[in-house]
Symmetry: D2
Subunit: 157 residues, 4 copies
């Protein structure tokens, strides 16, 4: 079975984040990874567009109970009807998680991925977290660009 | 986006059920439908095998938190970690639901699909339901073979 | 911790079903059981009314994302936002499941409870299930009245 | 129906966090709020102990499929079998969310509560979040002690 990588990010994003997410999707599809995402706009749409441009398979795990609002580049759109509980499904189903940009929903996916703790979690920009001592809690990998993010997953040694 | 059809059935099945599920998967893939299933053995494995034999895309929505036990013919395996709550996801994400064979888990999927009520639900054999007056509650379609089941979804008029 | 019993049934019910559900709730509360239900009308409201009349604790596990439509007799209303996936939560959290009346949603709860398989499942009227040979699949207990239903849970020997 | 307040925090905590969580639970129960929590140890057990000491109702929404590991002071323990997707249920069911201490799981609850966006979210110590410009994303309230945290929910004006 193919490797599966979740790419998480906000439903609205800057042009720079769009390019990063799109390139990340493209690089993952070139490596034959299945891309998992939230299935809507912004970073989710960008990563789907990138993966599709390279002939990849993209699964959008939607929060809503129907497919309205789903992006145009998804291979499969799964309307879970679970609300934001679907964030857990996205990161739980992945062999690695890449986070592009920041929002509360995105942060919940980053935190759920770290809570799960079994797979690499790589951040490309976005929000940061500090513990009680003002230090990063540790464990999140930080990449400078999509190529480095994909490499940091460790899935293609 | 492609049409999506859920095929539900028990994790252990008879040889006749295996053939029916496999043929159903094959016919759906030939029509370019994405097949959704529970991702494990029995009917789930048979429908995946059939869809794959025709070059189709099959998504296994797993109850467990990891991919152990997932069938070999899935394009994507989504370990949801939701237990049997994943049955809701499978039927909620489908444009039509086909049920092959019977078990309590299978019946929960049939009932959740009928409770949702927006898409055709077709049974190929399996368990039956009677209301307080001993009559079928109505709404479930009954097919004699995979070809009729696929036709009864109404997705390919 | 108190014993927890789920009482499942349709959101619309007959007067006879209302009385059965209410009496079931009352009997459970008298035995200090926490009552779990779906939290809306019909059988769910009746069992909550009965439990409350005897000073019991009733938890309504709601499908919606907010409390609108929740019945007036719940001690706690949990809007899960999970849709019908919440049916899994209701029966999974119970030490016994009592089903009053029939509907597709109710049948999904009966089936999920039987699929789980660790606790007694008692039916008070409602729909029935037949396997491929026309026989009841076995395992569901059938009670004639609320008192017998509560006794059949085996929680108060 | 009673007001419902979720209190979130790590399963292991310092003595100072225990005292804060316990006092928060006590103050909420004195105001007749139902307390929702994750149902296990650390901050979850402390808030349950505090609420129970004041005669309050505490619901533990467990991630696991059974009640093993549930704290001793819960009025109701709901084993959801949803894994960390239950974090969404906890914060979605609350009229206000109070966060004590920090961990990845706790951060996911904070983020899910902020993503939901309809109710006050108050932090008592714990981890902090910075956006791309190094600023707090805004919206989270910060309290110095349990009394202030409870007041900041705005539920008892």
């Amino acid at each position: 079975m193919a490797v599966q990588v979740a790419v998480c990010g906000p439903g609205r994003c800057s042009a720079a984040e769009w390019r990063r997410a799109q390139e990340t999707g493209r690089l993952l599809a070139l490596r034959s990874a299945v891309v998992l995402c939230g299935g809507y706009g912004g970073v989710m749409a960008a990563v789907a567009a990138g993966a599709r441009s390279a002939g990849g398979v993209v699964v959008g795990v939607l929060s809503a109970a129907d497919r309205s609002g789903a992006g145009p580049d998804l291979t499969v759109a799964l309307p879970t009807g679970l609300g934001q509980a679907r964030n857990h499904v996205i990161v739980n189903a992945a062999d690695a998680v890449i986070v592009v940009g920041g929002s509360w929903g995105t942060l919940s996916e980053l935190a759920l991925a770290m809570r799960r703790g079994r797979v690499p979690v790589v951040q490309l920009g976005g929000w940061t977290v500090r513990d009680e001592q003002g230090r990063p809690p540790g464990g999140v990998l930080h990449a400078r660009d999509p190529r480095e993010a994909v490499a940091m997953t460790g899935l293609w040694p």
